[in-house]
């Protein structure tokens, strides 16, 4: 069974450095992390590999060369191969362009039985890349999975929890599934795999490696959406008021404050 997991490298919100002058986010390798929802998807792939022997997991990422250091972490948990689609011409691509480029890369990489994605990326939050990839690949897709069970390498069962309801879907493979964040936590790495990752270099693809690629569909030019403007949210005008003691007057002030925000 061949599984492909799409994994984006995003800027770690805890390490993010923002340049207010240029209104851009610094994207150094040290600031990157693998998108959490994608790692939940990867964990499901690894669980399938735990049970079935002949499972090969490939990961696919799209981004600049800096992503390589984070991609190595995927080898550390048990991925068999990692691919980075990296090309300057992809800069500024929106969800539509990204889905197109990823689908083309998936086609190029071969016939996958199962394609997994995270429900959305931390920085984009559109959730539309996975279904669009499925459209391009012309395979069925199910979004927001909270569990994946493999029956017999031909069919899988997807669970989706939504509020208090549990939905079960059965899908014939090949199919694409997008996975809800936190539905599974990525396992720890293994020492031997960390050593393997030391000397591992992901396969890097450029757009020239892809077949029948329509260059007009990608990059800022090829995108259907564009960023109009950034709005900076400042927390400076949030006032902190301290009410000391537990006198009736203070309690009244606090109660007032609570009411204002209800």
């Amino acid at each position: 069974m061949k599984i492909l997991v799409c994994i984006k490298q995003v800027v770690d919100p805890e390490k993010v450095e923002y340049n207010p002058e240029t209104r851009t986010i610094k994207r150094n390798a040290q600031h990157l992390m693998n998108n959490p929802a994608d790692l939940s998807a990867l964990e499901f792939a690894l669980r399938i590999k735990d049970v079935y022997k002949d499972v090969h997991i490939t990961t696919l990422s799209m981004g600049p060369a800096e992503c390589e250091s984070k991609i190595k972490e995927l080898i550390e948990v048990g991925c068999d191969s990692c691919v980075l689609l990296s090309d300057k011409r992809l800069a500024g691509s929106d969800a539509y362009s990204t889905a197109y480029a990823l689908a083309k890369a998936i086609e190029k990489l071969g016939n996958f039985d199962l394609v997994l994605c995270g429900e959305s990326s931390l920085d984009g939050e559109t959730s539309i890349v996975p279904p669009q990839i499925a459209e391009y690949l012309n395979i069925p897709h199910i979004s927001f999975a909270t569990n994946i069970k493999v029956f017999d390498l031909q069919r899988i069962e997807i669970e989706r929890k939504f509020k208090n309801q549990l939905f079960r879907f059965e899908v014939k493979l090949p199919a694409l599934v997008s996975v809800k964040k936190d539905s599974a936590f990525l396992r720890l790495p293994k020492l031997s795999l960390m050593i393997k990752a030391l000397s591992y270099t992901p396969q890097v693809l450029s757009l020239d490696d892809l077949e029948n690629f329509d260059f007009s569909k990608v990059g800022a030019e090829g995108s259907k959406t564009s960023v109009d403007r950034f709005v900076e949210q400042s927390f400076e005008d949030v006032k902190c008021e301290i009410y000391e003691g537990l006198e009736a007057a203070q309690i009244e002030c606090i109660a007032d404050l609570v009411m204002r925000f209800l």
Partner: protein, 381 residues
């Protein structure tokens, strides 16, 4: 400081640190309070393959040495020495097999220890034989295909939890230390029981128990090394595992030091953070100096041992003594810096101070270590 660890050693340290910070830190206070054996953490160490770092490659391990073992112990100890000692005691039980095991014994036990499927222990001390190891009274009498063990052991780390025990017993009373032999005893052998569990001051997550042997039948192929070599087996093992105690001490000290600095920067008295008072700054500086010195001594001892050097009892004792004394001093100072908050169980340094104490006692009290060092250096000059 840059310790010039190899890339592989850096990875081991990083992985152990991650488990320590993400998992051990969360359970340290609870396991200490309730005396819970950290089997879940040992399972994680097994999954990540850290259980096999010091086991030779041909027996399914990573092929590292004392250094690799110490790096794991140090990182686990930063958050909980009780967890660390539960890991380290398996190394204490495995080293006699690595050093003196016959091929069949190595093949039978080491791969499973490497995978974390077996937990090991080392049983030497008795109620009347602590520092004076050679006065042990447990006997092993050969009868046909078995040795029959009788007696009891005290203070055995991983007691009751371990699957394999390296047990020392007297096979020939007339020969003194040369009449002691080592045996591999498996949990479940007839006549082998686990006795009382100790209610300890520190390292409370670890299990320390009595072991009882009543006509315990041990197959003769479980004799480790030759009959009468038990004392050497024990001493050569300790030479390799005392750095493990030093690593535990360095880890505890590092944990207390990191906590104390963060606390000193946050706690405000007289309108300024504690860290701005020179009295506190000097304590922090001394902590740093001592920890780095202990770690430098530990790592160079490990390198010496792993290089294949023949004799390193003195170095191994010296790093154990120095690091354990540092741990005691640093944790006591960390409690001092935190004042009342240092003295209560809501903060981890109180536990660290209790944990540090044992590093000065076990695997040979520091007085005994100084005896070893002194006898060596006097011989040298």
């Amino acid at each position: 400081m840059e310790y010039f660890l190899s890339e592989e050693q850096k990875i081991i340290k990083k992985l152990a640190k991650r488990i320590s910070d993400e998992y051990v830190s969360k359970v340290a206070i609870k396991y200490d309070k309730e005396g819970i054996f950290p089997r879940d953490i040992l399972d994680l160490l097994a999954y990540t393959e850290l259980t096999g770092v010091y086991i030779p490659k041909e027996y399914g391990g990573f092929g590292g040495g004392v250094m690799e073992m110490c790096l794991v112990v140090e990182e686990l100890s930063r958050n909980c020495a009780g967890v660390a000692v539960s890991y380290a005691a398996t190394a204490l039980g495995a080293y006699p097999i690595i050093l003196y095991g016959k091929e069949e014994q190595k093949k039978k036990y080491l791969p499973k220890i490497a995978k974390g499927e077996l937990i090991a222990a080392f049983a030497l001390t008795e109620s009347d034989a602590g520092s004076d190891v050679s006065s042990i009274k447990t006997t092993a009498e050969k009868k046909g295909d078995y040795y029959i063990l009788n007696g009891s052991k005290h203070w055995i780390t991983n007691g009751g939890e371990a699957d394999v025990y390296v047990v020392f017993a007297v096979t020939d009373k007339s020969k003194g230390p040369r009449g002691i032999s080592a045996f591999i005893v498996e949990k479940g052998y007839e006549g082998f029981y686990c006795g009382k569990k100790e209610d300890k001051m520190g390292i409370r997550a670890s299990s320390t128990t009595e072991l009882i042997f009543e006509d315990c039948k041990v197959p003769k192929e479980n004799l480790l090394g030759r009959e009468g070599t038990g004392f050497i087996v024990a001493m050569k093992t300790f030479d390799r595992t005392r750095p493990g105690v030093a690593a535990m001490a360095v880890g505890i000290a590092q944990g207390a030091y990191e906590y104390a600095i963060r606390y000193a920067k946050e706690r405000v008295q007289f309108g300024q953070p504690l860290s701005s008072f020179q009295a506190i700054q000097h304590m922090l500086a001394d902590m740093y100096i001592n920890i780095e010195a202990a770690r430098a001594m530990l790592y160079s001892t490990c390198r010496m041992i792993d290089s294949g050097a023949k004799d390193f009892s003195k170095e191994s004792s010296a790093c154990k003594v120095f690091a354990s004394d540092v741990a005691m001093k640093v944790t006591t100072d960390a409690v001092q810096i935190m004042g009342g908050n240092g003295y209560v169980k809501d903060y981890p340094v109180e536990k660290m101070m209790r944990d540090a104490k044992v590093t000065q006692i076990f695997e040979g009290a520091n007085q005994i270590q100084r005896n070893i060092i002194a006898s060596e250096i006097i011989k040298e000059y």
